[in-house]
Amino acid sequence: MTPEEREFQQKIDAGIKVEPKDWMPEAYRKTLIRQISQHAHSEIVGQLPEGNWITRAPTLKRKAILLAKVQDEAGHGLYLYGAAETLGIRRDQMIEDLLAGKAKYSSVFNYPTLTWADMGAIGWLVDGAAIINQIPLCRCSYGPYARGMIRICKEENFHQRQGFDIMFTLTRGTPEQKAMAQDALNRWWWPAVMMHGPSDAESKHSAQSLQWKIKLFSNDELRQKFIDQIAPQAEYLGLTIPDPELKWNPERGHYDFGAIDWDEFHNVIRGNGPCNRDRLRTRKEAHEAGAWVREGAAAYARKRAIREAA
């Protein structure tokens, strides 16, 4: 460690936040740019599976709620792009990387949303898993990232509750509606469990990120917490989690659970999930279709500035 690096680490150990213009190791900057931009992309791409159901929501109330939820996700993406920009990467660059298929986003969004119950399962499980990842990040070492996460976490609780509410309503409905909720849980359970990332034994960047406090708990710790929270909720709903090995372990004080199919996880990350191509194509088309709006707004701003300068 150089003296600068040592001083930097001491500052982090003392709980002092790093702000944009402070000195930081290049690797810290790079790791954070990767982490925050991937997170931002996940928020943006994450709008698509739910956007699929806005026009088909069963009631006007559900439609308004889903619309507000999806709008929040766009906001989350913008807070995070803003935080990443403070580290010296241009927003256009990040968006180009996403559209070119060079950037990663959470692989959970590469699964299709087949029924209305998927809106329930996503809010309850996917946003639920995201909250568990995000709450500790409110205390991470990088100021702008921590501030963005605080804002995001405040909004996520609404997301999870509205999802649970959809599931609750379906499970109290007709046998067909209950079956629909169970089917959604069957399809979303394992992708949600994988959202916390590879197991600790396999996770490459963990040790350094923990030391830098841009990660505060290991993937497996977060996953355990998620499963411990969701299992009793599923029981309350009268739904069965699709894992025959899931069982309360009184000695550990945690739920035991079955083996995770990491081959599937890596396969989806590699681009072979059911919707990878579809998601990127939709994003690209939306970006291109919006070009005239961006150009028009810029032309108007230019014209007005010239008129005002004259």
């Binding site: 944009p20 108007y300 701003a301």
Partner: protein
């Protein structure tokens, strides 16, 4: 202090600014009357009017504010962390600026 430093100088001529490379704006929000505006974050917009509209959608979806300021990031002059000592150290030397510096006899009240 602006969180976002502009990384490339704004082009001098208004005409040659790239259509999609919108300038960055810092957003300040007054959460209720009686409180000062506080930095909320930043966003990109082609002009101040659009920055205000976008700020409304991005930062005040849940009654977070009663008033918004938008300031072009490049218009903010900020001190740098390197100047910390020169700027702020003298204040630490002047302990006599704090009331605790002065001894007060136990018998004296209301001082």
């Amino acid at each position: 202090m602006p969180e976002n430093e502009p990384f490339e100088k704004q082009p001098d001529s208004l005409e040659d600014r790239h259509a999609t490379d919108w300038p960055l704006w810092e957003i300040f929000i007054r959460s209720q009357n009686g409180l000062a505006h506080k930095h909320a974050g930043s966003l990109h917009a082609p002009d101040a009017e659009m920055a205000l509209k976008n700020a409304r959608d991005v930062y005040t979806r849940r009654n977070e504010g009663v008033s918004i300021w938008v300031v072009r990031s490049s218009d903010i002059t900020a001190s740098s962390p390197g100047e910390k000592e020169i700027l702020f150290e003298p204040a630490n030397n002047k302990v006599y600026r704090y009331p605790g510096f002065y001894p007060v006899p136990d018998e004296v009240k209301n001082l």
